[in-house]
């Protein structure tokens, strides 16, 4: 399949840093680019900035039309005028992560010498590298301290890393549906996805730009597999049950030999095929690896509490009952580590049957919780209402 023109040609607002940037792996990027979007207005004191950290396949288009897909922003329920993260009140920033494919430096961007895209030679970045790149952006915007850092899933990992690395630059931290390390099960699912990409002949050792054919089948299977982990059994049953539908007429796929297919199969195929229009396979490999490597406690003598000792940041942890990818036990473990560190922590589990994806969906209790927490923090931070 030929990569859509959209992903290749769209210009993303960005800033390029020409100072050398040394990654955790030891490699130094001579320069790097951070693509980002903002909404709302920074106040005169520069104290109302909220950084949103996106998840694995998210991007900087939090609350506006995504230019590649033309769809609404991925967190419009949470971010916008009058929303829990209220852009009438806060200056909201979201950057594409390092290693991403929406304009920030990553595998599909050109190498520093301009000879070819990085491809699989792109260095193995970490969550910490992503956060350090975001910190550069924040400083570039003239912001010394963020009022809040908010993110779900991999975004939540970045929030934890922010709070650990720059405690004085984070007034409030909201790690949502996340964990302080990737579990063996998490890594296992990611590995299935990566193997699906490797198994696609169109992957071509990662140099697929040379032939112009992208590993669409492999990447689609990776997405299908991952998508299952984002949902719950209840949600799948409620949405699809065992309902059948006719085989797609134009399908030449082997599965159509059964003559008909389950609705859930059709749904997953749709998820897979739309995903490959907007995401780069090598980026997927890079970012899933960064998540797998994440183990915050390991950087602090194996004790997560050490990451947060003496912190003045106010934390809100939220998990969802049916999320089995980042289960409540993981959030509770973080909350207890924060207790051991003497931190100010709020923690609730929201009842939902929507699985891990619940953090992106219409969950009124969740939205009320975030809104109230931020209101309380704004009062403590002395931010005018």
């Amino acid at each position: 399949m030929v990569q859509t023109d959209a992903l290749a040609t769209i210009e993303h607002a960005s800033v390029r840093f020409d100072t050398p940037f040394t990654l955790e792996c030891g490699t130094t990027l001579p320069n790097h680019t951070v693509a980002f979007r903002t909404s709302g207005t920074l106040n005169a004191a520069r104290t109302n900035a909220v950084l949103i950290c996106h998840a694995l396949t998210g991007d900087q288009y939090v609350a506006e039309r995504q230019p590649v897909t033309g769809k609404p922003g991925w967190w419009e329920m949470m971010v916008g005028p009058g929303k829990p993260v209220d852009t009438d009140r806060y200056f909201v920033i979201c950057a594409n992560v390092l290693g991403g494919c929406m304009g920030s430096t990553g595998p599909r961007e050109m190498r520093p010498d301009g000879s070819a895209p990085w491809g699989t030679d792109f260095p193995p970045v970490t969550i910490r590298d992503m956060v350090r790149a975001q910190k550069q952006l924040i400083e570039h915007l003239g912001i010394a301290r963020l009022f809040a850092v908010v993110g779900g899933s991999m975004g939540g990992m970045q929030v934890l890393q922010w709070a650990a690395l720059y405690p004085d630059a984070v007034f409030a931290a909201l790690p949502i549906a996340t964990a302080a390390h990737h579990s063996a099960q998490n890594i296992a699912f990611h590995e299935v996805g990566r193997q699906a990409i490797f198994a696609d002949p169109d992957w071509q050792g990662g140099r697929y730009w040379e032939s112009g054919r992208i590993p669409a089948r492999g990447l689609a299977v990776a997405r299908m597999c991952a998508h299952i982990t984002y949902l719950s059994e209840e949600a799948l049953t409620r949405k699809f049950g065992r309902r059948l539908q006719g085989a797609p007429k134009d399908s030449s796929e082997a599965i159509s030999l059964f003559g008909e297919m389950f609705e859930v199969e059709s749904y997953l195929r749709h998820q897979g095929s739309t995903f490959v229009q907007r995401f780069d396979a090598n980026s997927y490999l890079t970012i899933t690896r960064a998540m797998d490597y994440f183990d915050l406690a390991a950087d602090y003598e194996g004790d997560l509490a050490n990451a947060f000792r003496g912190t003045r940041t106010r934390f809100l942890l939220v998990s969802f009952t049916s999320d089995w990818l980042f289960p409540t036990s993981q959030s509770r473990a973080i909350a207890r580590s924060l207790n051991r560190a003497g931190a100010n922590v709020s923690f609730v589990e929201i009842p939902s049957d929507k699985g891990h994806d619940a953090f992106l969906l219409d969950e009124p209790d969740f939205h009320r919780t975030v809104a109230g927490f931020l209101r309380g923090c704004a009062m403590h931070a002395g931010l005018a209402a």
Binding site: R314, L316, L317, A335, R336, S337, N339, R340, G342, N344, V345, S346, F347, V348, E349, I350, P351, D365, R368, T369, A371, G372, F373, R375, G376, C377, M379
Partner: protein, 212 residues
């Protein structure tokens, strides 16, 4: 609410109980309120005394309500979550009308006095004359406005009397810094020097403890 949710002890005169506790806490203190419900006390302590007050609540709906109100509350259980706090993290650790509902009251008290300099504990008094009279006269478990659930449904699995509580403090070596008993109407009972009378007429006991 599902049937699996823990049933909390519902206190009458909640406002009064919290007001009395609030009076015992010095301004600007670090406070942990265990079983904080919707966070009324921590809100009160923050707004009126500038305390750094935080809460733990076992009922998820209540905890969520408190956080959505902007209060620092986490879902947790007195029996299992206190062990995660460092020694001396708080000036006061409050357990309001919850002691009788925890699984291991003695261990919970010990944790409270490990993580806090002082423990503030209130509990409904099972030694109250009406409770005694009902048991004596009917031979059945008392049902009063305070002890208002049948024995097989009550979350209050460890009822105790004011004298029982004094005895436990003596056994554990806790100093009773202040104590008082209030009657059904919430009036401060005038039996300061007579625990026996307080145990008969006090509807609720309220204690401030510290380690000896």
């Amino acid at each position: 609410m599902s049937t699996h949710d823990p049933v909390r002890f519902v206190a009458k005169n909640m406002r009064l109980d919290l007001a009395l506790i609030g009076d015992m806490i010095a301004p600007g203190s670090r406070v942990l309120d265990i079983g904080c419900g919707d966070g009324t006390l921590i809100d009160h302590l923050f707004r009126t005394k500038g305390c750094d007050a935080r809460g733990i609540e076992i009922d998820m709906a209540e905890a969520t309500r408190a956080v959505a109100y902007g209060l620092p509350v986490m879902h947790g259980d007195a029996d299992t979550d206190l062990q995660h706090y460092p020694d001396g993290a708080f000036d006061y650790v409050v357990l309001s009308r919850t002691l009788q509902a925890v699984e291991r009251p003695r261990a919970v008290l010990a944790q409270m006095l490990r993580i806090g300099t002082r423990a503030v504990v209130s509990f409904p008094n099972f030694g109250h004359w009406l409770v005694r009279w009902q048991l004596l006269s009917t031979g059945r478990m008392p049902m009063t406005s305070t002890w208002d659930r049948p024995w097989h449904e009550t979350p209050n699995i460890h009822p105790c009397t004011i004298r029982d509580f004094f005895a436990l403090c003596a056994e554990e070596g806790y100093q009773v810094e202040t104590w008082l008993a209030v009657d059904d109407a919430g009036r401060r009972a005038p039996w300061r020097r007579f625990p026996g009378l307080a145990n008969l007429f006090g509807e609720q006991g309220l204690f401030v403890l510290r380690r000896l």
